[in-house]
Symmetry: C2
Subunit: 345 residues, 2 copies
DNA sequence: ACGCGGCATGAGAGCGCTCTCAATCCTTTC
DNA sequence: GAAAGGATTGAGAGCGCTCTCATGCCGCGT
């Protein structure tokens, strides 16, 4: 049954009148029907479909103090969010898990510099039951907003700010992944191995740089071999150009994301360096673009979708447990990283 | 002021008590403060910040019948949503415009085949004041859901289903854009011009194909020169391979999206065809990837971000006008398309 | 036949907010 | 100085739903 936008939608009261029962009984049926006689339940169900009744969510969450929704906050300009397949994949995992639990996903984008203020207000207004937050930078104001809202929060990536010891998060073993990448380059005989990092105020970027250092022959360490590509394709392009200028003799690059690696490959080609003959390249993420580059990218695989799913699952567990539940308290999760060898290095 | 998650957030009542006024007065101040004496207003404001009061949105929208949120529904699997920069750009425009009007954006993704059912329920439950919907296919059940919910709706792309004559939408002149692309290829001396289309149950894809036919020399029309690339990169790759097999003598391709064009370029390279020497390629969209391909892509520009902004603006006007307002009724918008010549054709 | 436990149902009190309407208080004007 | 008129403020009735508690009904044991 369709309602014109000006006529009011039917309420519980209306359904109750039609089914010849009380509001309370209709409410019980709508919420599962436990404790209602089969015959009555059917009668109410019929009234519901006849009238096209849909519960008013505002009224419901006013009394239950639950919204059935989880906010996903991404601390990046949309430019990056939609340019980097990483977010899409993670979101997909989250989305899958949430909808299985019949929970709505609210995507909050931070448009402006001051956007966190809006987001904080939104969270505090009680639009969501919990928060998933990722891609955080060291002195991002967002975690404080989440904290202030009092909502259970799960972070994507290990939080790096002070006082985050008790935070719940899902991360991959970035440091180990980086080690594998660099070891692989060394095993293939590369001696001058550079690195293109992400923004170092993110723990994932810092951890990968640390892993690079771990696996490097200390004798070949050289600050000129390190450049920041900001986790964007253009950044990777630029960083690669800088590296080639500062250390023309480099023969390997570990690029801390596939997206940056695609940029780096372009620069290498433009400079006439052949990959992998002259320079070996290893990326990080193993998202779709990795297989599409020319040549296909050797990279470090992290199951991004699974990470998203884990984040959601952690949060749902937390929500189900209730505010003060100490037993069965969920704990942070760290997933492994594995090297995928293709043709670039 | 931060509240532990178990202690209740302060209510209007609490603020009123602290400021020594009535609930009604606090409500006035919170909603702008019109008609409240300056001194009282200040006192209330102080009480608000002292207590860290944030209005409960459920209670508010229960009475106002407004949520301050707009739902954006994308009728595609997330795989496409996050792989195609088109959506990101459009969303960005929408997001900009909405946040300027202090309206929240709710992104609803359709995960499963049956996802529209969930979405319909969500819309009907009154979580949003209006709907923005794009990338619709001919017999998509989503518009019916939007219709049933009674919410004002604006579509991205001209709706193609029956009974959509009165629908509000924003579109570009796809047919004209396609004509320009094909005319350009002809002007460069191409005689056997193929086309890689999107899914033809979308009006944008059909319109571009029509434009291709308009501009083609009728004498050279040939069904073997038409292939469907499904608006994805892999689809473009595959379609290009099919075309080369069916018509090895082709010397030009009009590819109906940049993403598909990037795939087509890969296939051409793999088959040893030089671009633009052997085959001229023109894309559609002019999104970031267009400039990054090798060679950079000649393409048809549509201002996707602006389209998003226009969609949001249209919806906001509609919402502001109220349900039955006939005066100043917003009308569909069609934006122009322009050719951007780079190196691929 | 009576009382009791258990299940199904209804009555009614809110959840936190907005908004109408009446009451109050100042000015202003004659 | 008093009445009129406008600006402030407060009281109170809901918005639609959930949930507790009281009530009514049944079959059971004694």
């Amino acid at each position: 049954m369709v309602h014109a936008s000006n006529e009011r939608r039917p309420t519980l009261e209306a359904v109750a009148a039609r089914a010849g029962v009380s509001r309370a009984t209709v409410s019980r049926v709508v919420n599962g029907g436990a404790g209602v006689r089969g015959e009555v339940r059917e009668r109410v169900r019929r009234a519901v479909t006849d009238l096209g009744y849909v519960p008013n969510s505002a009224a419901r969450s006013l009394v239950t103090r639950r919204t059935g929704a989880v906010a996903v906050v991404i601390a990046e300009p949309e430019t990056r969010v939609f340019a980097d397949p990483f977010f899409g994949r993670q979101l997909r995992g989250i989305s899958r898990e949430l909808s299985a639990a019949d929970t709505q996903l609210l995507l909050l984008l931070q448009e402006t510099r001051a956007g966190h203020e809006r987001i904080g207000r939104y969270l505090s207004a009680g639009h969501a039951d919990g928060v998933l937050m990722f891609s955080l930078h060291r002195d991002d104001p967002l975690p404080a907003m989440a904290e202030a809202s009092g909502l259970p929060t799960v972070y994507g990536g290990r939080p790096g700010w002070a006082g985050a010891e008790r935070a719940l998060y899902v991360d991959t073993d970035n440091r180990d992944g980086a080690r594998q990448a660099v070891r692989h380059l060394r095993a293939r005989g590369r001696r001058r191995i550079a690195v293109i990092t992400g923004p170092l105020d993110q723990t994932s970027a810092q951890d990968r740089l640390d892993g690079y250092r771990d696996a490097l022959d200390p004798a070949t360490a050289d600050p000129r071999l390190i450049a920041d590509g900001g986790f964007t394709a253009q950044g990777g392009e630029r960083a690669m150009a800088e590296l080639l200028a500062a250390a023309p003799d480099l023969d390997g690059v570990f690029v801390c994301s596939d997206l940056m690696a695609s940029g780096a490959l372009r620069t290498l080609r433009a400079h006439g360096r052949r990959v992998p003959e002259d320079v070996g390249v290893v990326g990080y993420d193993d998202l779709d673009p990795a297989a599409w580059t020319d040549p296909p990218l050797t990279t470090v695989r992290q199951d991004v979708e699974e990470m998203g799913r884990l984040m959601a699952r952690l949060l749902l567990r937390r929500l189900a447990a209730g505010p003060g539940a100490a037993r069965d308290e969920p704990a942070p999760v760290v997933t492994p990283a594995t090297l995928v060898v293709r043709e670039s290095g």
